[in-house]
Amino acid sequence: MPGVVTVSDLRTGYGGDDIINGVSFDVHPGEILTIVGPNGSGKSTLIKSLAGIVPARQGTISLFGENVTALKTPQRIAKGLAYVPQEFNVFRNMTIAENLKLSTEFLGLRSHDGNQERTRVLEMFPDIADRQDLLAGNLSGGQRQMLAFACALISSPEVLLLDEPSAGLSPKLVIEIFEKVKAVNELGTTIVMVEQNVAASLPFSDRAIVLVNGAIRHESSAAELSARGDLHELFLKEA
């Protein structure tokens, strides 16, 4: 089955070393793919590379069968991708409404009137819907995360990339966030997320990839991974 996103032999990094050392995988339509792994394993770099923020040094990234390796973020967004960065993912000096508007204006907007999209998205996030004039900087961590989701969803993306959506959130909020992710997924959006919180994220995922030191250590369904007794080994043992 051809993937929504296909990554083959991807190598990338920032400085001298490659952080991602030849990673290949497919993202299947409609699934939640969770990439887990210890800190420094390259999860964040990988998802940034998918989003087009860190350019690939080698290998290809395809979106719906089309090679998008050379495309920049805005062009990938126009093709149906959306990306929610980790933390600092809302414009803090702007209100909720403005954050949303910005997204309708600069993302791959399909209809001319952003209002419709905004209304649709806000229905999913009642928490922030009724305080649209609040500065995003004054929101709590969970609400900010919701807003960032909302912004990304406004373009009705087919693939949503999430970089550690649960980072810095209290356990209760973590669950709420993942429930939201699941809800979004159920509306038909394919989701690729990077997570450190294995325990909380796997139950909401369809499939999982374990990334260690920039290479895929393990790939299976989420349930299978959860069930494995040697998860600890899998994570912590060096190559």
Partner: protein, 286 residues
């Protein structure tokens, strides 16, 4: 006292426009544009030659200048700042010093050293409750306030304005959201250009136009922008008004010659209590 207040507001309103421009370019382009003075001079000369040589009435000349000058600003950006964009604020600051030499002297080369004046008749003031309010003050207040409202409407309610604020707020996220930095930079220069042009015309009306014109405003504009918190256009307006009013009121206590010193004293006091300016969240370059 009331008269001083009016005078101070008059000065402040004129200075407010270039201060907003400075603040905008600092917030979005991330460098303090020292050439703001020379740009004022250039804009004033453009309006002047439209007024005198092309024979347009001042209103038309000013309006045309407001359309033309942003192009000059874009040209300056393309020639000077674009190649240096990645090189840190101080390099850009020094480049803007170089630009200001070039602009000032291009004006001198073309227009000569003589002071020039617009072709307008001056008028005596209206008197309201014993206070003197003159026509130009009303015009410049009107234009300044109008321009400010326009700027804030643009920033607040247009997509490009929001994009500008987004870039100022969090450039990385803006890039991740697909906001085109080039367009935002161009928009910033255009907006700054409009403000500078408007203010150049007002300053030309207020005093005479000569090649040194802009130098007189650099320190004041920087002071106002810093006072308001660099990168915060609304703060810059407040900073300009505060400096204008304090400068005038200070003459009640100290000799007029020390007026500009008083401005710095105010800044020092403000920074002591609010290290990032009155409304600022941003830090200035070292």
């Amino acid at each position: 006292m009331g008269q001083l207040l009016i005078n101070g507001l008059g000065t402040g309103l004129i200075v407010a426009l270039p201060s907003i421009a400075l603040s905008l370019s600092f917030g979005i382009l991330k460098f303090p544009n020292f050439a703001i003075g020379a740009m004022l001079t250039t804009a004033a000369y453009i309006a002047w030659s439209l007024n005198i040589h092309a024979g347009l009435p001042l209103l038309a000349a000013g309006a045309l200048c407001i359309i033309l000058f942003p192009m000059v600003a874009l040209l300056c950006d393309a020639a000077v700042f674009r190649p240096l964009r990645s090189r840190g604020p101080v390099t850009l600051l020094v480049a803007s010093m170089g630009l200001s030499f070039v602009l000032d002297n291009v004006c001198r080369l073309i227009f000569g050293n003589d002071a020039r004046n617009f072709d307008i008749a001056l008028s005596r003031p209206y008197r309201v409750w014993g206070l003197r309010i003159n026509y130009e003050l009303l015009v410049s207040a009107g234009v300044s306030i109008g321009a400010m409202i326009l700027v804030f409407l643009i920033l607040k309610h247009t997509s490009i304005g929001r994009a500008m604020r987004a870039v100022a707020d969090n450039p990385n996220l803006a890039a991740a959201r697909g906001i085109d930095a080039k367009r935002v930079i161009a928009a910033t220069w255009i907006l700054a250009g409009v403000l500078i042009a408007a203010s150049g015309v007002l300053i030309g009306m207020d005093r005479a136009i000569d090649p040194q014109l802009g130098w007189n405003y650099i320190i004041v504009c920087f002071a106002a922008a810093i006072l308001g918190g660099l990168g915060n256009p609304a703060g810059a307006v407040f900073g300009a008004l505060l400096l204008g009013v304090v400068g005038e009121l200070a003459t009640l206590v100290v000799a007029t010659n020390y007026r500009s010193g008083v401005g710095f004293l105010v800044i020092a006091l403000v920074l002591l209590s609010r290290p990032n300016g009155l409304f600022g969240t941003r830090e200035i370059v070292k």
